[in-house]
Subunit: 218 residues, 2 copies
DNA sequence: TGCCAATAGGACTAAATAGTCCAGGAATGC
DNA sequence: GCATTCCTGGACTATTTAGTCCTATTGGCA
């Protein structure tokens, strides 16, 4: 309930609390439905019903479906970044990365690998269909990677990582492993490949530690 | 023209060459269109037009759109495996992996990262929508990974890889890096992240070489 | 309190799209 | 070469779905 700004409207009209709440309800419903069914397979009537609103409200808050989808891209991006910021902004050690990895794997295992990453699935579905959505998603991925690479920079600055470690490339590799892991887990309906993929990326990062220590990643 | 069996029909009816050719033409058009627009965003009329066929032919060869999509999943899977078999079945050295990586990156760079992997994009779009398609895709991924892990087994047996290398896990990690790389490249419309992701996976494999040798991956 | 814009409800329209049907032409087996 | 089955063309229907419109209600503000 602390994320009202996540759904902040962009227009200049006078706007009431009730209107904001409705808009939020629509986005929340779209988020839920489109995560499991995909964007194109979700109809506006589905969203209308799930959000307990009406057609006119949908079109009052969003010009058309495309604009709703674009708003959803931003909405989801803000949610993911909010969540990830919480988990990554104090990252200072390798074990912190392991905890981060475990949290993601555990969350995904709750639904047996289904649905995957909300951003990744939109990325494949929309990238070749809506340039604006694509670039918005691309920015979100970049911001997400930056959260990781910032942490790796801190680790390098504090002498944990060798100087020849490249935080940006390591972050990109980790993100690819994460997204690829989501994808394979989704296809297999089994979280295992996601764990394997993330472990590979973590091992790679570990190889840049100044003094390799600790157990192999679990 | 050596891939007629790729589109082999499954029914028991008497079937003519002409019928096979039409079916093939439909699948080929569906393949092309759905790669760039996605499955759900491609209509049967699009396919009818692109394949120079008629509605009745579509429904003569496929019960409905879902069955066409399922056939496409198999068709694409067969094409990918055919291509990958050619590139992987003689894999015996680390430099062979590097060549394989370069070929994939180069192919993807031709369209600036767009469209991604035909299997990966279907996986995210269909996995939560059509259980049959999902399991078919999952099998194809497994077969693809096996091509890789078989090669890694050969490398381990010949003493190139250390005994503690786990070919199956390494193959899963490599596949995740590949799919995640495709996804990020598609979102960014830039092939670079795909290269970084594959390099990470290759470095990881290289760390299991008995005597690390050669230049860093390009 | 009363005005006015924002919000809500929901029937309705238009367009897109999946799916059906039938009649005629082409292969194939006997 | 004839009958049977497959194959093709395209008009047609039914359904789904995006998008519109009109009326009623609510809430903020002078």
């Amino acid at each position: 309930m602390s994320d009202e700004q996540v759904a902040a409207p962009t227009n200049r009209r006078r706007i009431s609390q009730r209107g904001i709440a409705t808009r939020e309800r629509i986005l929340e419903a779209a988020n839920r439905l489109m995560l499991v069914r995909g964007v194109n397979a979700t109809t506006l009537d589905d969203i209308r019903e799930a959000s307990q609103t009406s057609k006119s409200q949908l079109y009052h808050h969003f010009a058309d479906k495309q604009e709703l989808v674009r708003a959803l891209v931003k909405y989801r991006g803000a949610l993911v970044l909010q969540r990830e910021r919480a988990g990554l902004e104090r990252l200072r050690s390798f074990s912190g990365l392991v905890r981060w990895r475990n949290a993601l794997v555990q969350a995904n295992s709750l639904n047996n690998g289904k649905y995957g990453c909300g951003l990744g699935s939109m990325a494949l579905e929309l990238s070749d269909q809506d340039e604006q959505a694509r670039s918005s998603l691309s920015e979100t991925f970049a911001a997400w990677e930056k959260l990781i690479s910032d942490g790796l920079h801190r680790m390098r600055d504090s002498g944990l990582l060798r100087q020849d470690a490249d935080p940006e490339k390591l972050a990109t590799g980790l993100m690819a492993a994460l997204q690829g892991g989501y994808l394979l887990a989704n296809a297999a309906h089994d979280v295992a490949p996601m764990g394997v993929a993330l472990d590979m990326a973590l091992e790679h990062i570990r190889s840049f530690l100044v003094q390799p220590s600790g157990e192999p990643t679990p």
